[in-house]
């Protein structure tokens, strides 16, 4: 996907054999208008927020995935985004529909070349799961973060939301966010199905003058719905890293449960880590747990690694990857390796 124009979609033939549709959204609008009409905008309405409205007005293309009933998608689907054009924005849309008892794992990667001007990325991602269906959505975001003084870089204002409409359906968001000058992003789950499950695993690394404000919303509507939130924020340089999350237990969410863990790691003494949890409970039978920690890479830990011959940068990367292990293990294997390296690169020059 270059500047929101699809370049190629590989393996389409193999996928079509099992009935999986994976194509640019522009094509889906022509070929499968009923599906698009039924679902697009049903999770994130046009009027949801300023940037989703902007996206609806100007979006050019994006990805469309449809997994029919009972099908387990035979491969991991992936899209790779890149912004090349100067003074522009990227406004892609992604729509993934998983019918009853189906499964898909979807990967999204992003990069943008270095520019002095700011660029806007205002995407909308909508996921829908029906009874017993599962979508696993993983993102490694590495947009250009701007230089050390905060010049240039991407403004990453993305609306991502999944609707667990079916009973026992599941949506799992995993994100590794290392890039962008400013990130505002809250991949969320609306858990309306009975016993539906929402998960959010996040690693957000900020360095230099970056600002990341990210988290999730778990809206519990269905009886027995469950959600897990694991957020790891790492701040270095002069960056600010905020977890902002909402857990909302509504009246019908009888016996619903949430577990949230937010850990922050500080590298250096000029960065900031913030945790802003919002908790709303309208059902007395719902259980909500929230754990949070803030720590710093200690001089003892660094010296221990250095004494074993590792360079300071290798040591920081090792300690940081240990800190976010719980999230990294949720990523597909080949993505995890790449993400680990990326975290190391993002923190280069953050110590010493």
């Amino acid at each position: 996907m270059f500047d929101s124009v699809s370049v190629a979609t590989t393996f389409r033939e193999e996928l079509s054999k099992v009935g999986v549709i994976f194509c640019p959204i522009s094509e889906a609008i022509r070929e499968y208008p009923d599906l698009v009409r039924r679902y697009m905008g049903s999770v994130v309405p046009v009027s949801d927020n300023y940037f989703s409205a902007l996206n609806c007005a100007v979006f050019t293309d994006g990805s469309f995935v449809y997994i029919p009933k009972g099908v387990r998608c035979p491969m991991e689907l992936s899209t790779y985004f890149r912004i090349n054009e100067q003074n522009t924005g990227q406004f892609e849309r992604t729509l993934i529909i998983a019918e009853d008892s189906s499964y898909v794992s979807y990967l999204e990667g992003c990069t943008a070349p270095q520019r002095d001007e700011n660029q806007l990325h205002a995407a909308v991602v909508e996921l829908v799961t029906m009874d017993d269906a599962e979508i696993k959505y993983s993102t490694v975001q590495n947009w250009y973060p701007g230089d050390e003084t905060g010049k240039g870089g991407i403004y990453n204002f993305v609306t991502k939301r999944g609707a667990c409409r079916g009973d026992r359906s599941k949506i799992s968001w995993t994100q590794v966010e290392t890039g962008s000058a400013i990130t505002w992003k809250y991949p969320s789950c609306v858990l309306s199905g009975k016993d539906s499950v929402g998960e959010f695993y996040s690693v957000a690394v900020t360095n230099g003058a970056q600002q990341a404000d990210t988290g999730t919303k778990m809206i519990h509507l269905g009886q027995g719905s469950r959600s897990t939130i694991i957020s790891k924020g790492i701040s270095a340089g002069k960056s600010q890293n905020t977890y902002r999350g909402l857990v909302e237990m509504n009246k019908g969410a009888e016996g619903a449960r949430n577990f949230t863990q937010c850990d922050s790691l500080l590298v250096g003494d000029q960065c900031g880590a913030h945790t802003v949890p919002y908790i709303v409970s309208r059902n007395p039978s719902a259980k909500i747990e929230h754990e949070a920690t803030t720590s710093r890479i200690s001089e003892d830990q660094l010296f221990y690694c250095l004494q074993r011959g590792m360079t300071e940068e290798d040591a920081v990367s090792l300690i940081v990857n240990g800190f976010c292990k719980e999230v990294m293990k949720e990523l597909p294997m080949e993505f995890a390796v790449e993400a680990q390296k990326l975290i190391g690169i993002s923190l280069e020059g953050s110590v010493g």
Partner: protein, 253 residues
């Protein structure tokens, strides 16, 4: 050429002078014990040698294989062959034991211009060395030092030493927190690594470690200076009579 030469070493932390002119020469194949009461500068010496930040060397020099270490960072010294077995090994939450060991060994290999270890061969090597030290497989899978008992932590230090093949190993109070059985296993682990190529500095309060790891030389450190040097019988002397007599004699002299 001497392996490690410490020449008239003076060091301080902040405004406090801790080491007041230490002279010590260690040749390959030798084991030197450094004994001394609390606050005599034993741990400071181990940190100064290994290049920890926060210590200022005000006078003197440290030479490894004839090269001064003073301008080298801790990691460079480690790659040059310096190993410190920590008195209090540090916990690294989430960092897998195998990944940590491999990162350490690879850093050393890269320095020597050799290929990095392949994962499978490395796991085998670690397992073999671990078994010798009575380290269970399960411990290698856990995060580094997290939830280890005192004895496990010390064994893990010795395992790292075995994998890194240092030319000079400093064991900082390796006996602290060990029961009799653990002390025996750890000592055997250290002894199995003695040889003509390696020099060792064993820092301890007590003679009991030195009946397991028998030193060639014993030095008594007091108030940042070596006040007496002898053979292993000096350690027995200290055990019997304490440090007080030695310190008083030193003051008189």
């Amino acid at each position: 050429m001497a392996l490690l030469e410490i020449k008239n070493l003076h060091a301080r932390i902040g405004d406090t002078d801790i080491l007041h002119g230490i002279n010590l020469t260690i040749n390959r194949g030798e084991v030197h014990a450094i004994m001394g009461p609390n606050g005599s500068g034993k741990s400071t010496l181990s940190y100064v040698l290994s290049g920890r930040n926060g210590y200022e060397i005000t006078e003197g020099d440290i030479l490894l294989d004839g090269e001064s270490l003073l301008e080298m960072e801790a990691d460079e010294r480690a790659r040059a062959g310096m190993f410190l077995a920590f008195q209090y090994p540090v916990e690294l939450p989430g960092v897998g034991g195998m990944a940590f060991l491999r990162a350490a060994v690879n850093a050393r290999l890269r320095e020597q211009g050799e290929d990095e270890v392949d994962q499978l061969g490395f796991v085998k090597l670690v397992r073999a060395k671990a078994t010798e030290l009575g380290i269970k497989d399960d411990m290698l899978k856990r995060a580094v030092n997290v939830g280890f008992s005192g004895g496990e932590k010390k064994r893990y230090e010795i395992l790292q030493m075995a994998l890194l093949n240092p030319s000079i190993a400093i064991l900082d109070e390796t006996d602290s927190g060990l029961d009799v059985d653990a002390l025996k296993i750890v000592s055997e682990g250290v002894n199995s690594q003695r040889g003509p190529e390696i020099g060792m500095v064993v820092i301890t309060h007590y003679q009991r470690l030195l009946s397991h790891i028998v030193p060639d030389f014993v030095h008594i450190l007091s108030a940042g200076k070596i006040i007496k040097t002898g053979d292993k019988s000096l350690a027995l002397d200290v055990e019997e009579n304490g440090y007080t007599d030695l310190m008083e004699n030193a003051n008189v002299a």
